[in-house]
Symmetry: C2
Subunit: 155 residues, 2 copies
DNA sequence: TTTGTTATGTTATATTATCACGTATTGAGA
DNA sequence: TCTCAATACGTGATAATATAACATAACAAA
């Protein structure tokens, strides 16, 4: 991820979440909000137990269930995605839109880029149709090396 | 998966694996072969510890590492796929071909169907190109309900 | 047959995730 | 305002998944 003012990302994510929860009438409790804030600390995915460690500075009594419950809520509301290939979590960049997402996961800088593309959606939709398969959930993840690591990195 | 003579699937998978390992000069040891055989018991994915239980009938001293090592080998050789969304494993239907695979995972009968499609590959390739991202590994998985469960099943 | 490499045996432990049950908060309706 | 039901959280235990570390065994090439 190129240099940017990350405070903007963070604030945008949090205020979108505020609005979204308000609109839906669901409770955006302090723990849930703090967990989302910690996830948005940067553009890297974070693991549940790392999140737990960070959360303890905010709430010393935090336990695994504390984190997993908050994650369940955030994922259910579409505010966070689970990265299956890493058993990790990442903030959703477009929580209001429903679409097929493709995650580009850099193994060097650990940044996760979220992309959506009509071509991919169409290809998937036509596969599903021809298989007569009804989708409930999808995971599209690619591990590799991002542009900026390719530019700066060795190897 | 519709009714079929599964012994054919199993034998095909095993003899392909024999040939492939021979050709590559890698060792297809009894444990590795047995693990592959157990994975191919049906078209459902199987979890590592279930595999371990089954393996114990063959080798009472089997331990987690026994299974995970065999799985590492089989995956490396492309004989087995890891299903990320289930933390489970499934036999590869086309171990000789390299392509982008889409897994259709039925949540009712647990069957995993492996599909490959040029449209999907193209859509992915063009996303990667536009993101200037170099892929090392990919996961495309869809969870849902397969055709035969839709026909026979209730809700 | 020696020797280096690869595979396996074995014990321990790390990592990831859920359960169960009790208490506290919340907010809607009486 | 009070009550009640639903939801969220606290807490301890444990389940499920996976790897580390180090010793021994099997193999294959010289």
């Amino acid at each position: 991820m190129s240099a940017h003012d990350h405070a903007v990302c963070l604030n945008t994510a949090l205020s979108r979440a505020d609005a979204l929860c308000e609109r839906r009438g669901v409770r955006f409790t302090p723990i849930r909000r703090k967990v989302l804030e910690l996830i948005w600390a940067n553009h890297e995915s974070i693991k549940a137990y790392d999140l737990l460690e960070a959360l303890k500075d905010f709430d010393a009594s935090a336990k695994p269930a504390t984190v997993y419950r908050a994650l369940d809520f955030l994922i259910e509301q579409g505010l966070v995605h689970r990265v299956e290939t890493l058993n990790a979590f990442i903030g959703c960049q477009q929580p209001d839109i429903r679409h097929d997402l493709l995650f580009l996961i850099c193994l060097e800088c650990h940044t996760v880029e979220e992309r959506s593309t009509p071509h991919l959606s169409q290809a998937v939709a036509s596969e599903l149709a021809s298989a007569r398969f009804t989708a409930k959930a999808q995971t599209f993840e690619i591990l590799g090396r991002c542009q900026s690591c390719a530019l700066t990195g060795g190897d």
